[in-house]
């Protein structure tokens, strides 16, 4: 049984211009001890689906799911109070902006100790001891002095380490990291990623890493879940995904990696942008930006089986060639365009 099992999760926001579906029937599962990476451009609903899992969305959001289970427990059926007991204890989350994610009015020690008191009922002395332990675990030098410091006295990287320490306080079974390195310097990014990967391995917890950086995925993840415009478009283990992506969107993301595009002077880019609330096309949502689009794609789209990474595509790529595409001549041209 997977630790986290999500089936057909949808999130709809009530906006001034009508309902907007930010997450559209996403299914996802993650075993204990796994690293799952959710990849996609900004606006693809990566964060929203995880915030929905945490129950942290604003009241304008409506969350529906056929199944939303954590550790065998049905989150949808749970009372808010019960669900809160899981948060910070069994499921923890760290965020994109470490500096603004820490409360400026409280010391580092207080903010970490708070979880320890709430979930584990530790006393003052135990909390202090455990907090120091956690801070040194995440690689913060002289943790005793850091304890009484305020967030504005920390750098961005330090802040993210504190956030990680806070998340690990109660030994969670699942840690969700929402673009944890986006706001950090490149050198610090690598350190934080290494730290996360090490901690995951040491403690055997599951890690869901939300990112838009394929490089980060390659370094850390075991499984990859590619999301586009609120939909899951592909899911594969990391190695086969990099070797043979099945969805054209995944392929395009990979070819946009600088490491893979050195031959040509310019980095390839995917034309257009993720459709918003008003310009969602019929059929395949990626069709306006895809090189292989046919009339069929503009009408409807079919999900492939596990052998093609559950790709949401009528013509899944097989070693770079769209399978069953009706116009082979067009393919060569399109592929050349894509690689430019």
């Amino acid at each position: 049984m997977p630790l986290l099992d999500i089936e057909n999760l949808s999130v709809t926001f009530a906006t001034a211009t009508g309902p907007f579906r930010a997450v559209d029937n996403v299914s996802l599962s993650c075993d204990g001890g796994d690293i799952l990476s959710i990849v996609g451009e900004s606006g693809s609903g990566k964060s929203v689906s995880m915030l929905a899992l945490m129950g942290l969305l604003p009241f304008t959001a409506t969350v529906t799911a056929d199944r939303l289970e954590f550790d065998g427990r049905d989150l949808m059926a749970m009372k808010t109070r019960e669900r809160r007991k899981l948060l910070g204890r069994d499921i923890a989350m760290i965020f994109q902006e470490p500096m603004s994610s820490l409360n400026p009015c409280f010391t580092v020690g207080f903010q970490i100790g708070e979880s320890l008191r709430k979930h584990l009922g530790l006393g003052r002395a135990e909390r202090k001891e455990r907090t120091i332990e956690l801070l040194s675990l995440v690689g913060i030098p002289s943790p005793e002095t850091r304890l009484s410091q305020f967030p504005h006295q920390l750098s961005g990287g330090m802040s993210q380490r504190v956030m990680i320490a806070m998340a690990l306080a109660c030994n969670p079974k699942l840690l969700i990291a929402d673009e944890p390195t986006t706001a950090l310097d490149v050198t610090i990014q690598a350190q934080i990623l290494d730290l996360l990967a090490d901690l995951q391995k040491e403690r055997g917890m599951a890690l869901i890493l939300i990112t838009h950086d394929m490089g980060v995925v390659a370094e850390t993840a075991q499984r990859v879940h590619v999301q586009y415009a609120g939909q899951r478009v592909e899911e594969q283990d990391v190695r086969p995904l990099f070797e043979s992506p099945h969805h054209p969107y995944t392929a395009a993301l990979l070819s946009a990696l600088p490491e893979r595009a050195t031959k040509h002077g310019r980095l390839p880019a995917i034309p257009g942008k993720v459709p918003g609330a008003d310009d969602r096309p019929n059929g395949c949502l990626f069709s306006p930006r895809c090189a292989f689009t046919t009339d069929l794609c503009r009408r409807s789209v079919e999900r492939q089986g596990a052998e093609f990474g559950h790709a949401l595509c009528n013509y899944p790529l097989e070693q770079g060639v769209p399978r069953g595409h009706p116009d082979p001549e067009h393919i060569g041209q399109a592929m050349a365009e894509m690689m430019e």
Partner: protein
């Protein structure tokens, strides 16, 4: 921190000089002559008039009068009331506890009611409760104090007969002042019913005086809360599984209070200004009423000395508020 404190303390000096000049000049700009006011309707002879004028020094050029006044003020002598013949400082300290008592109760009401209402409105943003509360706050803010006071007197003292109309305590009770605060003294006196009487005298003027600060604090709290509730650290607190009460009442409110404390500090000036009207309506024997009476009697020494002391208090309180600000906001402390 010490540097900051000394710097702010240094800034008080020019402000004091400015206040002393303004109060000195303004009371003399009002038509009327203190000595003729003393004489009353019977009038006095020209010789007696000239004698009194030179006795009080009003025959000197203004500039000389000012420096005389400033020089004695520096030595702690604010002059003597021309009406009661008592030193200004002594009168001030006799009456000041009544005003502090009124203002303290008023600010306690304003903070204790204003902050929760502001938080409630922010949490229920856009609801009828929010709109209702903020509508009432706007009315409270806009209402003329003297009219609002009269309305309450008509309702509670007139129609319902719940509270007395004026004064600090029923004349049936007598006990020597210990602290000058009627609520405390009445308790200390041990006389049955004395505290209740003092409280019933205090409650209406305190509500009237609290109205404007309460409205201001509630509105400021609401907007500060709204801003803070959208912050990332509030989401972090929720992600840690903290109950809404703690998220709102601790994580969010602590940050929202930073601007609210400044606002509360600024209300001290508003309170002392409001005390002038409130004390006059309720015949509350404090410095507000004292100031008004002295202006009518052209009691120069009392008006300029009293205003100087009031201004000094406002400045010191604002300084204290700035210090508190550092305690609440760690980014300033370090």
């Amino acid at each position: 921190m010490l540097r900051f404190f000394l710097h702010r303390l240094g800034l008080l000096i020019p402000t004091f000089i400015g206040v002393s000049i303004v109060t000195f000049a303004f009371i003399r700009l009002i038509p009327g002559d203190p000595i003729l006011m003393l004489a009353g309707e019977r009038g006095m002879s020209a010789e007696r008039y000239a004698e009194l004028r030179s006795l009080y020094g009003y025959d000197q050029p203004l500039i000389v009068q000012y420096f005389d006044y400033a020089w004695s003020a520096l030595q702690g002598d604010l002059g003597t009331s021309i009406v009661t013949k008592r030193p200004v400082l002594e009168e001030f300290f006799t009456l000041f506890p009544a005003t502090i008592e009124l203002a303290t109760v008023a600010i306690i009401i304003a903070v204790a009611v204003g902050i929760p209402l502001g938080v409630l409105a922010a949490v229920k943003r856009g609801s009828w409760l929010d709109q209702g509360l903020m509508g009432v706050a706007l009315v409270g803010y806009s209402m003329p104090i003297f009219w609002w006071g009269l309305l309450l007197i008509i309702l509670f003292s007139g129609i319902l007969q719940w509270t007395p109309v004026s004064g600090r305590i029923s004349l049936l009770y007598f006990f020597p002042p210990v602290t000058g605060f009627m609520l405390i003294d009445s308790l200390l006196s041990g006389q049955a019913g004395a505290f209740k009487s003092a409280l019933s005298h205090l409650i209406l003027p305190a509500i009237v005086l609290a109205t404007i600060p309460l409205a201001v604090i509630a509105r400021q709290t609401r907007s500060a809360m709204l801003e803070v509730l959208g912050e990332d650290y509030v989401r972090t607190a929720r992600a840690k599984g903290m109950p809404p009460r703690r998220v709102i009442g601790l994580h969010a409110l602590r940050n929202a209070l930073i601007p609210v404390i400044t606002t509360i500090g600024l209300q001290v000036g508003v309170l002392l200004a409001g005390a002038i009207l409130t004390e006059t309506i309720f015949s509350w024997p404090g410095i507000g009423k004292w100031m008004v009476d002295s202006v009518f009697k052209r009691d120069y020494a009392v008006v300029q000395g009293g205003l100087l002391l009031i201004a000094g208090i406002v400045m010191v309180v604002n300084l204290l508020v700035d210090v508190t600000y550092g305690l609440v906001n760690p980014r300033i402390r370090h």
